[in-house]
Amino acid sequence: MVQLTMAKAITAGLTRAMDGNEHVVTIGQDIGRLGGVFRITDGLQERFGARRVMDSPLAEAGIVGTALGMAQRGYVPVCEIQFDGFVFPAFDQIVNQVSRLRFRTQGRITAPIVIRLPYGGNVGSIEHHGESPEAYFTPTPGLRIVTPSTPVDAYELIQQAVASPDPVIVLEPKRLYHSLKGEVDLDAPASGELDRARVVRLGTEITLMGYGPMMSTLLSAAKVLADEGHSAEVVDLRSIAPIDWVTVEASARKTGRVVVAHEAPRTSGVGAELAARIQERCFFALEAPVLRVTGLDMPYPPSRVETDYVPSVDRVLQAVDRALAY
């Protein structure tokens, strides 16, 4: 067991994945000598060489499109997109090409690529550097989208993503990269299922559901509720495409009240899918409507007011109060 930041845990997981399979390569802007703008690939080029750790030209469609070609040649590319807001030049490659190759070829050709995408706000930066674009990708069949909330989870998920025969977008909560530390067993096998949600706190009265950077907010809210005498269960989705409905529905049925949180805007977000599915499947177990605590229906704001945009513990508690009042 070692204490690692989330950033170092991802580095360790990526290193282990590359050690274990010589066909795993990485490609992205500034990932070589600089070690990436967040230093996630720090040391990888020294260890694996410039042939496997490729500094790319500044072109997101180029990174993802060539990765897909390398995958067809038998490689397992791990792409790094520098920031959430810069993923869109690669949008066609991701939603029309990467996601559909297996379907288009009736399963003959898979696209085992990984796209690492730092995301999320409250990082005090400028436009395009604090956004949560997951809802542009989650409705796309053929993609797996996962997001860790702890260092150990990040260590496992990146290895599982590399091992998966499917294309996987790993949304990395950049706010937690260097701020969140945790115990990681570097020798533990990363053999868990990629799309399994996790109940991270048991409770009985209400379920707080979220993923990635929201989990620390939800856990803080659960602690406040415990102090006030309320028992909140907390579910970390980990995979937002596909979603582990078994775990989600079991918790919803158990507590009868659900609050969902994400940083992305409310409209047509992951929370909308959760609310719809839970009321479809758990209607008679519900004591209250499923409530959403989300980013606002506006472009991500200038950073001096971003704390009013990103869901806070207070906003989660406000929704919990409403749900408990039914």
Binding site: Q29, D30, G32, R33, L34, G35, V37, D55, S56, P57, L58, A59, A61, G62, G85, F86, F88, P89, G124, S125, I126, E127, H128, H129, R266, T267, L296, D297, M298, P299, P301, P302, S303, R304, V305, E306, D308, Y309, D314, R315, Q318
Partner: protein, 381 residues
């Protein structure tokens, strides 16, 4: 341009720098670099271009370059002190920027990337607009139409297509305005930039693509970004490509002036590759020691565009007093700006709903009320 005291170049013979020097006249890729004033402030003769700037114009250009560098330093300092989210230093690129924009009319539109502080100042805009962005106060702030200065573009290269479209509008209007599209060497790898170059050529849009080749896309040197230099690629798109010493105010000005004249005459776009160097980091979040050497930085510090221009001005009789006065002015401007930056306050989040859609939306209005009520509740506690 009517020059009352136009500078007549003295002829000093061929360049004698080592062959790997991009300003030696014949760099490795065979593309000529237009240079009219060398790093030692010696005039160079060129077969096509000649200096077009008067001493007064150079003094004014130098003043903007000097003031913008002072504020650039202030930007880095403010970021280090936690007062800005980020700062993207432009130190070393002032001649490329001012040489280009000073070759335009005030009515010509400029599409900047995000490092063009000196251009913003050239257009008479309050530089605090740039600091508002970097402090996380607003995404963009100044009056684009009044100053013909577009907003900063942080998605690399996206502005180039818009610049071309603006130029297509100029053509449709039958106007003789031109557009300056600013981008860096890194941006030339982006697909949308290549689409912009093609559209500009196809529609003969009156656009000058100013590629500030500062040698790096963050950490990646140009040798790893492309095999064909931007100036060479222009021909493939069907437009002239000119490489110029980007630290030579006279050369950049002359080349852009010629490109602008061609565009005004309906002869279409030009790509100008201005060879320069980002003396500072990519942004304050960057660490250049990981990817470049001190010796290389020192080489380029020796080509500092401000030093070169200052030497020329002194040779033309500009006095110590003038430079001393400018330094004092710069300190005043910086002190004043710092105070105003520290006093900047953002708009409230609910005010930002005004800017989401032009026509009223009941759904947005409802959310706005909810957010306002929530914030009022917090403040009431």
């Amino acid at each position: 341009m009517t020059a009352t005291n136009a500078w007549t170049p003295r002829i000093v013979g061929p360049a004698s720098e080592p062959p790997d020097d991009p300003f030696a006249g014949e760099p490795a890729d065979g593309i000529e670099t237009v240079q009219l004033l060398d790093p030692d402030a010696r005039p160079r003769r060129h077969h096509t271009y000649s200096p077009q700037l008067t001493v007064d114009e150079v003094r004014e250009a130098y003043r903007t370059m000097f003031l913008s560098r002072r504020l650039d330093t202030e930007g880095t300092n403010l970021q280090r002190q936690g007062q800005l989210a980020l700062w993207a230093p432009a130190k070393g690129q002032e001649a490329a920027q001012i040489g280009a924009i000073s070759a335009l009319r005030a009515t010509d539109m400029v599409y900047p990337s995000y490092r063009e502080l000196s251009m913003v100042m050239h257009r008479g805009l309050d530089p605090i607009g740039v600091f508002q962005i970097m402090r996380g106060i607003t995404h963009a702030t100044w009056d684009v139409e009044a100053h013909r200065m577009g907003v900063f573009a942080f998605v690399v290269g996206a502005q180039t297509l818009q610049a071309v479209g603006y130029g297509m509008g100029i053509t449709l209007d039958g106007s003789d305005e031109v557009v300056l599209a600013c981008l860096g060497d890194g941006a030339t790898s982006e697909g949308h930039v290549n689409e912009a170059l093609n559209f500009a050529a196809v529609y003969r849009a009156p656009v000058i693509f100013l590629v500030q080749n500062n040698q790096y896309a963050i950490s990646v040197p140009t040798a790893q970004q492309f095999r064909g230099a931007p100036a060479a690629r222009a021909a493939g798109f069907g437009m002239p490509g000119v490489r110029v010493d980007g630290n030579d105010l006279f050369a950049v000005h002359a080349v852009v002036a010629e490109a602008a004249a061609r565009a005004r005459a309906g002869e279409g776009p030009t790509l100008v590759e201005a060879m320069t160097y980002r003396i500072g980091a990519h942004t304050t979040a960057d660490d250049p020691t990981r990817y470049r050497t001190r010796a290389e930085e020192d080489l380029w510090v020796g080509r500092d565009p401000l030093v070169r221009t200052e030497r020329w001005l002194r040779e033309q009789g500009t006095t110590d007093d003038w430079f001393t006065g400018l330094a004092a002015e710069a300190d005043e401007v910086a002190t004043d700006l710092r105070a105003r930056v520290l006093a900047l306050e953002p708009q409230g989040i609910t005010d930002l709903y005004d800017f989401v859609l032009a026509e009223p939306s009941a759904a947005l209005a409802e959310e706005r009320e909810q957010v306002a009520a929530y914030i009022a509740g917090l403040e009431g506690r």
